[in-house]
């Protein structure tokens, strides 16, 4: 192996990973009952999207307001497989056409549409979960980055795509389940996903995948590609004049973010038990940007914390104040963004880290110092000066 741990992650980062791992894998499962733990599992699926956003937006400066599209595509692929499994001819004998999903029967379809056929097979489904959103992101990326569409225009186009896909899904209800979504999912290859033991298993599978994704994201951040992304964010033209193909790097990181989101979407479907267009549209896509912003868009760990804390706050506030909670959430967002533009992660590096014992702080090597400097976007550096 020709890379050293220190070039992969500095001490603070390793410490951060460990804290998160202990929390997710040990503390939460011991402290919470299965209902709350299942909710945490659901929040962590949003963290997949948030990590993708840290790479695209925080590092690469590509703000996508349509990550819900990829989350939704991944989730729908999984839901289609589960729905077909739940729609055996015996289970659906009450319908006019047994053996097809119930919503198709309500919409007078009499046979399974061709694009549902591959989802009879679990391996094909797994491939589709990763490939469909990635290919879609690739097409979008090529169409836009090759033409040097960026910044606000890119954000608007991704948002429009989220809106278009929602309308498409709702409009084609015979093929997609419409506004109800794909509901009543029961088993995964004969394994009942609604039991408590299944929910524990899914939680740990989800946690494992999350750390895999975190490590991939960390690797990208520390690689030459990661540095190029930061360089592109700060001065795109200079990178281009240095002979790099800016578009290809952007396309790659956008596809990577899409694939992360899709994994999150598939795990979401498994843990929540259904998928609906309300995770595809503009509102969830923007919410995911908010998780990232609150957690800190420069920090992949911050993104996970952001998704966890915001969603936990949402659940607790709405339970305590069913009629006022939205106002409280709005206030929280405004407060965080106004007071800490770099989110919770920024708060941590500014206030908490200096007080930590020396061996835990990030100044283990000169490398780390350079790095944290490079991570602060130009605008906030200027503001600091």
């Amino acid at each position: 192996m020709n890379f050293k741990i220190s070039s992969f992650a500095n001490r603070t980062e390793i410490f951060g990973f460990l804290v998160l791992a202990v929390l997710i894998v040990v503390i939460l499962p011991l402290a919470l009952d299965i209902f709350r733990l299942n909710l945490i599992g659901k929040y962590l699926t949003y963290a997949f999207v948030a990590i993708g956003l840290v790479l695209c937006w925080g590092a690469g400066g590509i703000l996508s307001l349509g990550q819900g599209v990829f989350f939704g595509l991944g989730g729908y692929c999984m839901a289609m497989f589960l729905k077909l499994e739940a729609s055996t001819p015996e289970a659906t004998k009450i319908q006019s056409t047994p053996g097809i999903p119930d919503f198709m029967d309500w919409n007078q379809l009499t046979e399974l549409p061709w694009f549902w056929e591959p989802f009879h097979s679990f391996p094909l489904t797994l491939v589709a979960i990763l490939v469909v959103p990635t290919v879609f992101a690739y097409i979008l990326g090529v169409a836009m980055f090759k033409r040097r569409v960026g910044g606000v225009y890119f954000a608007i186009i991704t948002q429009a795509i989220a809106a278009i896909l929602t309308i498409l899904i709702i409009g084609q209800q015979g093929y997609t389940g419409g506004v109800n979504g794909i509901t009543d999912l029961r088993t995964l290859m004969g394994w009942d996903i609604r039991t408590e033991s299944a929910q524990y298993t899914l939680y740990f599978v989800n946690a494992f995948l999350l750390f895999v994704v975190l490590l991939v994201a960390q690797y990208v951040r520390k690689s030459k590609l990661g540095r190029l992304l930061v360089a592109m964010r700060e001065k795109e033209d200079r990178v281009r004049f240095s002979g790099y193909s800016v578009a290809n790097f952007k396309i790659f990181v956008f596809c990577l973010g899409a694939a992360f989101s899709a994994i999150g979407g598939a795990m979401f479907t498994l843990q929540v038990g259904f998928m609906s267009p309300s995770f595809v549209g503009i509102v969830p896509s923007i919410e995911m940007v908010i998780f990232t912003a609150v957690g800190g868009r420069l920090s992949i760990l911050g993104a996970v914390w952001g998704a966890l804390i915001i969603n936990q706050a949402k659940t607790l506030l709405s339970e305590a104040f069913p009629e006022l909670w939205l106002l409280a959430m709005g206030g929280l967002f405004i407060a965080v963004v106004m007071a800490f533009p770099n989110g919770l992660a920024g708060l941590y590096t500014t206030y908490v880290e200096p007080r930590l014992p020396k061996f835990l702080s990030g100044n283990g090597g000169k490398d780390a110092d350079d790095d944290s400097d490079a991570d602060v976007p130009l605008a906030s550096k200027q503001a600091a000066e």
Binding site: A31, N107, I170, Q173, N180, G181, R194, F274, T315, S318
Partner: protein
């Protein structure tokens, strides 16, 4: 005055709930040891003590559906208050935990799970849209809860864990079409609706029924939820000159549809065209404006203007609790039935156990319902009468007709699929 008291208790209960929440964060379940008092009334660990029983209210009080669902929340709270004033259920006062579905189907699923698993409620009164019901259904079936669902809906469902207190599609549709054929001599129909499962299924049933009667459907059109441009369909209607416009437009789109209809010179108060709807209650008329929909006919089971003693008492109690300017629509009344039907079933069963309540439910009758007499069918829907109302300028309906017999609920109608 009453409202003020209500607010205060809301605040108190939210404080109390915060305390419970704090405890729920620890693995200690505060409820279960208390609830596990051995008695016939509760053998399955529900949140029932010797003097209190906890139920859940699960509607959207934020988001786009809040306007529609608020009436149901108010009706359920009124029913619970009245039941408590009469001494409660099996000698226990009803305490409710209200959760917000936030017009978001996954949130409904999450909150229903919380109510059943954490709070161990004995029944849930809630949901409004079909999508939210579909989202919570697997949760109720898995954890064996009981849901009282108030909205008129498309049928095609019959869960052992749901009591449907609104009408299913055939109850609303068949009587309405029969009436308009008999009274107005209608021969041709134009079907129109918002594009989702309820209007589509309803129009499928309507079309089959119209064709069975040997009459003609001259058009069928759907528009997305929230659509506001109805000019093209209005032109088609003018071209085809149907005797009846059969409209199942939902929510905010109604405002645009009826205003544009009027602006296009289709005057519903004239005799040459009849508009029959199954989706506009008094609640929607507030948005549409009485002057825009005056002369339209609606087929449903309840109107605020129903002239009977039960209804008069209900309307005045409702206004006393929630203010004089409130209107009460079909779904609000159906939501009001939920707690009463549950109480009757619990008392018949002598127990809060879900299985016993389910077994006791078929045949439960309510003579005090504002809509008159209702009875729970074997299939968990209600036997109820269907009525025809004529919309007036002041936003109320004149009840012109009611079916003589109770309509049998038939969620899986043979020959209409």
């Amino acid at each position: 005055m009453v409202r003020k008291i209500e607010d205060k208790s809301g605040l108190l209960s939210s404080l109390r709930r915060k305390l419970i929440l704090g405890m729920a964060a620890l693995p200690v379940m505060a409820m279960s040891p208390l609830a596990a008092v051995a008695s016939d009334a509760n053998t399955t660990g529900l949140a029932v003590t010797d003097d209190e029983v906890t139920v859940g209210i699960l509607h959207s009080v934020t988001g786009t559906m809040a306007i529609s669902e608020t009436g149901s929340v108010q009706a359920e709270k009124l029913a619970i208050e009245q039941i408590n004033a009469m001494g409660g259920v099996l000698g226990r006062k009803i305490k409710y935990i209200q959760e917000d579905g936030a017009s978001d189907w996954p949130t409904f699923a999450e909150k229903s799970k919380k109510l059943l698993v954490n709070d161990k409620v004995a029944a849930v009164f809630g949901c409004w849209t079909s999508a939210s019901r579909k989202a919570v259904l697997p949760v109720f079936e898995q954890y064996n809860g009981m849901l009282y669902y108030p909205t008129f809906y498309e049928g095609l469902e019959q869960s052992p864990n749901v009591i449907y207190t609104g009408q299913e599609a055939t109850q609303q549709i068949l009587a309405g079409i029969d009436w308009v054929v008999k009274e107005k001599g209608a021969k041709s129909f134009f079907l129109l609706g918002s594009d989702y499962i309820w209007p589509r299924t309803s129009n499928k049933i309507a079309r089959k029924h119209i064709e069975k009667l040997g009459l003609k459907v001259v058009g069928e059109e759907y528009y997305p939820l929230g659509h506001t441009q109805f000019n093209s369909v209005i032109n088609k209607i003018r071209l085809k000159k149907p005797d009846v416009i059969y409209a199942i437009v939902v929510g905010g789109s109604n405002v645009a549809f009826y205003k544009q209809l009027k602006a296009a010179g289709i005057d519903l108060t004239k005799d040459n065209v009849t508009l029959l709807t199954i989706s506009v209650t008094e609640d929607e008329i507030r948005g549409i404006g009485g002057e825009n929909i005056e002369g339209a006919y609606a087929a449903m089971k309840y109107f605020q203007s129903l002239d009977n003693e039960n209804n008069k008492a209900f309307v005045s109690a409702f206004k006393e609790m929630w203010g004089d300017d409130i209107v009460i629509g079909d779904v609000t009344q159906a939501a009001y039935l939920g707690p009463w039907l549950w109480k009757a079933a619990v008392e018949k069963a002598g127990s809060f156990d879900i299985d016993k309540v389910r077994a006791a439910s078929p045949g439960i009758e309510l003579t005090t319902a504002p809509e008159g007499y209702v009875r729970i069918h074997e299939n968990h829907h209600l036997w109820s009468k269907t009525r025809i109302g004529l919309a007036k300028k002041d936003g109320q309906y004149d009840v012109l007709y009611e079916t003589e017999e109770l309509m049998e609920p038939n969620p899986f109608p043979e020959g209409y699929q």
